[in-house]
Amino acid sequence: TPLDPASSLPQSFLLKCLEQVRKIQGDGAALQEKLCATYKLCHPEELVLLRHSLGIPWAPLSSCPSQALQLTGCLSQLHSGLFLYQGLLQALEGISPELGPTLDTLQLDIADFATTIWQQMEDLGMAPALQPTQGAMPAFTSAFQRRAGGVLVASHLQRFLELAYRVLRHLAQS
């Protein structure tokens, strides 16, 4: 039975999560701006065909909509999604010297946020026994594919974070 979401999550945890989401959204926007300014890769809509061939997955947050929030499932999907994006960003390594530092910051902030979620799940006794393991990642075989992959991963990440932010804000305010 889904736990009553509001009561079981400490307010400080929710406020930290909101702060971390805002930071990662900022990092993601910085990556998108640089990809657009330097490589004129500004619109994910121009890379739909490439996305099919690269096979860049989406991270589901289906347990999180406020009308049917299932806390354990939602936190677990939140953590798995962050874990997926860590892997995708890792696969983009060597994207370009100009973008290296921005990518590093994004990865570190996502890893921090994933740790915050995982520890809260452990504190609530909801955490699975084993940490998730990374599935197969798309193979970016050229500099262009890494940049285009960067645009696609960043846009997926922003949409994922937007959903997460709404859920967390709903929990923080209820």
Binding site: L15, K16, E19, Q20, Q25, D104, L108
Partner: protein
């Protein structure tokens, strides 16, 4: 080797005694059956050497310096040869103090360099080569249980601060931090801090600005000022509350406080002031509702209220 000096301990507490002995082998002393061994500390001859002839013909002299008051000195074993003093061997002596407990350890998270910068007071001079190391570990609880340890942070020579780079930090998790000082005479450790880097963020204040006169906006009423402020960019993602302080430029009035105020204001009207008076204004912010430190007060903005 003709002569050889050995000491009880080359490094002692300042003022402590030190005992040395010098062996002169027989094959060296063929010059003189009973060579008189002399001791020299720095440039001064030291009386009190007790000399004896060992069974194998070796000459041995032992000396005890009751109080070594030099932080660094060289003790030489010498020999009178003809009418000149001959130095046969020499040992470096050092004296000082064990490191005091480093005090006032404090840390700030610098958002511009994304590093945790800790500083401390090293305590009195030890006169000995003393190494300081900032040690830390990640911790789930309140630092009672030690998680993964973080790479030691070694400050640059003689510095009393060290900077832990972002990649070694978990910004939202507790970490235990302390300073260890070590030299030949001992080791000391500061009390341990337990903090989350994000809770010790060093915020910069917003930038106060006057309002650009614009046709649409109504001019400020008498006794009011119009201003705005822009948040400090690197901390945009951090919820903060701010407070404004103001006082007339002339006279001895103390600061008046206004708050809590939002992190950003595109247009703010401050009223209840004396008309036709020049005011000094400053603003500062603090992370809120999550824990944090107040930023410094911003640079002053000077504004004048209109006539009645």
């Amino acid at each position: 080797e003709c002569g050889h000096v050995s000491v009880s301990a080359p490094i002692v507490h300042l003022g402590d005694p030190i005992t040395a002995s010098c062996i002169i082998k027989q094959n060296c002393s063929h010059l003189d059956l009973e060579p008189q061994i002399l001791w020299r500390l720095g440039a001064e001859l030291q009386p009190g050497g007790r000399q004896q002839r060992l069974s194998d013909g070796t000459q041995q002299s032992t000396i005890t310096l009751p109080h070594l008051n030099h932080t660094r000195a060289f003790l030489s074993c010498c020999l009178n040869w003809g009418n000149s003093l001959q130095i046969l061997d020499q040992v470096e002596l050092r004296a000082g103090y064990p490191p005091a407990i480093p005090r006032n350890l404090s840390c700030l998270m610098n958002l511009t360099t994304s590093s945790l910068i800790c500083q401390w007071e090293p305590g009195p001079e030890t006169h000995l080569p003393t190494s300081f190391t900032l040690k830390s570990f990640k911790s789930r609880g309140n630092c009672q249980t030690q998680g993964d340890s973080i790479l030691d942070c070694v400050p640059e020579d003689g510095q009393s601060h060290c900077s832990i780079p972002r990649r070694h930090l978990l910004l939202y998790q507790n970490m235990g931090i302390w300073v260890q000082a070590e030299n030949a005479l001992g080791t000391s450790m500061s009390p341990q801090l337990c903090l989350q880097p994000m809770d010790v963020v060093k915020l910069e204040p917003p930038m106060l600005r006057t309002m650009d006169p614009s046709p649409e906006a109504a001019p400020p009423q008498a006794g009011c000022l119009q201003l705005c402020w822009e948040p400090w960019q690197p901390a945009l993602h951090i919820n903060q509350k701010c407070e404004l302080r103001h006082k007339p430029q002339s006279g001895e009035a103390s600061w008046a406080l206004v708050g809590p105020l939002p992190l950003e204001a595109l247009r703010y009207e401050l009223c209840g002031l004396l008309p036709a008076t020049a005011y000094t204004l400053q603003i500062r912010c603090i992370r809120w509702p999550l824990p944090g430190h107040w930023s410094n007060w911003s640079p002053s903005l000077e504004l004048r209220t209109t006539e009645r």
